[in-house]
Symmetry: C2
């Protein structure tokens, strides 16, 4: 009952009509070959792979799960073949450096393809997703030898990567980690060798049967480490040691102790990893591990946001198809199809409200994802440093919002999908409840909602005296001024302007109150993040409406008319939440912090 | 990691201090023996059973699930023994008629015990829950023979019951059912016998190994049935035929074809039931099946609302215990426990916000449940017809709200619980994710949210020219007038009065607009239901605050202080949603209904 096609029409609308992909990305140095036409062709190819290879394995992978036996993890049937086809087609290295065998295509394309992978098989996507994080960290911080030995294999997909952070007693608070690294001689290039000892948990792709080797990036403490997060270093610890010529040597003492039984993403192995004096090398400088980790983490947070959208898109398409097919009851103003025993349930206002909620947030967050991805490409490649910085600021600001809001939306949309299926949605064979179970993890890993709220309010807002905030506020203010009086735009501009004013007020309140008492900012953080997201989406919906309205009315096709209708729904049904959020933001920390812990 | 004790202190506060159980219930004819002391003692006994017998089987029942083999369903290990102990202790017949072996105790007690059962083992609770529905339908509409043969066994728990409504092509729209009943001779008491043929799906407790017989109440159509819901009759179809003296005879052709693989409540069997000319008798009059079904359904909807609360309570207690134990990070204003490596996460405002959200809605909806249950007892037993009617009106109004809002809360609370556990909440062994999967069904069966919204707006609001609505509006208006100026009450009364005014406005809007266009009412329905629920809870929180404030300040213990703190949290953090809901209610059906179906 799962229905999915890649939203290519929406993607092309965003790339070519709303965000000027050609002008902003294809013109960047190094992306000369990534023309709009090439990008469109690659997206179609990606859709074929996702729909034909990944989607058919999604339900079976969930039913079968990963199996742990004698220290080895077996992925579900078909995963090995699909992974081989995936890596051989070059998808692992899509946006990677051509020097290491990558295709050097823009992040924008990577983001859009990630969405398709998550729409069709979130569990599968975890394996190349983790490799990509390891690639990023090594590409930026690795030594020449580390890069030469590991990057080509990660790009080719013959080896995969992990991030080994969490320990049983610490996930969010990495300052508490106990894994230690001790110097153990000198390597052929004069680099210090280390022995790593400790236990890591929740390691996605920590062990599996898809690749010849697994590259663990492990956070650990050196003997002379200062306490807390300032004393964390990053180590490269391969599953199988790599010889001086880059070939595979003996097995390292980095072994999987068990895998977790989870609510969802059951085809993705989640491992307990035991490092027992495992041999490794330092990545970058000592005690800088947290900083490098954030290199991986920031892009991972954006990727996890896309996981939310991916699932939400499948939930929407499946629910919309079902609502047009399932017949129960009659339209309230008289039978829509009197010759049939009942009308399709899409005649009911509440079913439509649920569908439009999913759709308005899917298309809104996809616009946010594309906007961010384009900024990411510009921030990496633009010749002008100030332009790069400007884009980087904006991405820093948007990252916690994308992670938290888009994963919340993914989970909510999956549940709305189940709701439209009614009791049938609760039955495993329709596939809808799997979306709920799979989506649930995205709200937890890479920093839960509360952590993203604190990042936004405690770090991003005050950073550079509010400069990051202005990277969003200024263009929005300019857009409002330019379009407020435009004919046809009032339906979108007036709600945007009002909500934007609330966001500005809330930002001032938090800045002032948070200075007086940090709990004031922290108490408001998660509601502020949600308010921020709603205003971002209002801005992007208004921009999409502007583009659709630019098409003369008699030439507007269903796609453009639906855009305008969905924009209107967003403004009237979803954006009003901004008012309640504002009220709770300014309620202050008192009601939360006054009760002593023992009352709970 | 699941933590649960029955909330006895809160229950006693509600029964004896807020809602005057002794004065309103224990004084009713037939309840003379159900004094406050007796009730308290029974509740303590129920807690022991729930905690010692049901809770230990919850996770294992989920892992094992029900097994279908050769037409027989095997419940998970331990369920048989627990069920035997449950029925032998008399819990099946707690509120049933003593004439049939019941204990004749008030509904109020039944409600509170149901909450405990759902807190500790929702799947288990399905079996006696369904029996209770069948008991109600037969007690009200069954013939003398039907009552004599079946009620004592249902009360004793030796036989169980089902509701056979849904068919593959119809769940919500029962007018479409195809199961047919044909007359087939005359029974010993002159009653017509029938042969029932058809397939029913999603039949909870349709087949299992807990009882000697299963009593199916089956909706089917007689040969002369008018079309649609006016042509539905109810039949009693036992799994094993009952002889004239009430003993078990031969096997009936009512057999389980398969059981569903589900997201949750895996220890509750969900059956496809095949009736192949199965023998049955008519319940009540021909073509009145829908009306009788609602006898079961209305109480079932209240019971399902309690399922939401039951799960939410376990989620809260487990999350609160974890938040006081799990150490990550530091309090923002300086370490709370500097001698430890980190502070417990309950120091963080956002963790507290999540906990208080669960708690404020748990205690608020428990107050709603007790208030409703007391009204149910009065509506059944009060000597004065006008008083009975008044209570019945209020229950009719509250039923869709309780079903929809409390199950939504149950699911949300279960998810907040997972969120507080972080990644550990996604792992099966903590037990938190099971709460989410189990809670999900409560939002679907017995009428999904959208159906409850339509019931509220389309039936309950206009009924008797708004009389039902006034049963709530008048006491609230009187309470506001009486308490608005009371010292200390302003924190609660002002928000209540504002939200109540919004609800009144919204009610007028729906009444007026809905008359003009039924889609206007239907478009607003689910948001209106939620607004209504928030106002009800504001009213009940204000009443609880009033009671707590009546305790002199120097004598207020932690329980009373926590009540006032939670009331304040509800008013400042949760009630403000009422404003946004009001805005969307008055947005009208246009944005939902204008897009043609093919745009979706």
């Amino acid at each position: 009952m799962i229905t999915y096609r890649a939203p290519l029409e929406d993607i092309r609308f965003l790339l070519h009509r709303v965000f000027d992909y050609e002008g902003r990305v294809a013109s960047l140095p190094g992306y000369e070959d990534a023309s709009g036409e090439i990008v469109d062709a690659v997206l179609e190819e990606a859709e074929r792979f996702a729909v034909n290879e990944l989607l058919p394995l999604n339900a079976s992978g969930d039913a079968e799960g990963c199996v742990f036996e004698n220290g080895v993890v077996r992925t579900p049937e078909g995963f090995k073949e699909a992974y081989r086809a995936f890596s051989e087609a070059g998808w692992c290295g899509l946006s990677c450096d051509p020097d290491y065998g990558g295709q050097g295509l823009p992040h924008t394309l990577q983001f859009l393809i990630n969405e398709m992978i998550c729409s069709t098989n979130l569990s599968f996507g975890m394996y190349p997703g983790l490799s990509h994080g390891a690639y990023n960290a090594l590409a930026l911080h690795g030594s020449k030898t580390q890069k030469n030995h590991y990057l080509p294999q990660l790009v080719a997909g013959t080896w995969s990567g992990t991030m080994c952070l969490t320990e049983p007693h610490c996930g969010t608070d990495l300052g508490l980690i106990r894994t230690r690294a001790e110097p153990d001689g000198v390597g052929p290039d004069g680099e210090t060798l280390y022995k790593i000892t400790g236990t890591k948990i929740f390691i996605s792709a920590g062990e599996h049967d898809l690749t010849d080797n697994i590259v663990h990036l492990v956070l650990a403490k050196l003997p002379d480490a200062p306490p807390g997060v300032r004393g964390i270093s990053m180590f490269l610890v391969p599953k199988i040691l790599v010889t001086d010529d880059g070939s595979l040597g003996e097995r390292n003492a980095a072994v999987c102790g068990s895998i977790e039984q989870k609510m969802g993403i059951k085809a993705s192995s989640t491992c307990v990893m035991n490092f027992d004096a495992a041999r490794g090398t330092l990545v970058g400088a000592p005690h800088k591990g947290m900083r490098y980790m954030f290199t991986m983490m920031n892009e991972a947070r954006l990727a996890v946001g896309l996981q939310g959208l991916g699932i939400a898109e499948t939930a929407y398409q499946s629910a919309a198809a079902y609502a047009k097919e399932r017949r129960q009851g009659r339209a309230l103003k008289g039978a829509a199809e009197p010759d049939k025993a009942a009308d399709p349930i899409i005649v009911h206002p509440d079913v439509r409200k649920n569908l439009l909620t999913m759709r308005a947030l899917n298309e809104g967050t996809r616009a946010l994802a594309v906007w961010t991805a384009i900024n990411l490409d510009v921030s990496t490649r633009h010749p002008d440093a100030a332009t790069r910085q400007e884009c980087d600021d904006l991405i820093s600001l948007l990252t916690p919002i994308i992670k938290a809001f888009m994963t919340d939306h993914g989970f909510t949309a999956a549940n709305l999908g189940v709701q439209i299926f009614g009791g049938h949605g609760f039955i495993r064979e329709t596939g809808m409840e799997q979306l709920v179970r799979d989506a649930r993890i995205t709200q937890l890993y890479e920093g839960a909602y509360g952590i993203q709220g604190l990042d936004l309010v405690g770090r991003k807002l005050p950073q550079h005296a509010g400069r990051l905030l202005r990277r969003f506020f200024h263009p929005v203010a300019a857009f409002i001024e330019a379009n407020m009086a435009e004919p046809g735009m009032q339906d979108y501009m007036l709600p945007l302007a009002k909500a934007f004013a609330k966001l500005q007020q809330a930002s001032v309140w938090i800045a002032q109150e948070g200075m007086r008492d940090p709990n004031q900012g922290a108490a408001a953080a998660s509601n502020y993040l949600r308010l921020f997201a709603l205003v971002i989406l209002a801005y992007l919906w208004a921009r999409m409406a502007e583009v659709a309205l630019a098409v003369p009315e008699d030439q507007r096709d269903d796609f453009h008319k639906a855009k305008l209708a969905t924009a209107r729904f967003y403004m009237t049904y979803l954006l009003p939440e901004a008012n309640s959020l504002f009220t709770t933001i300014t309620a202050g920390a008192g009601p939360l912090m006054d009760p002593p812990a023992e009352w709970f």
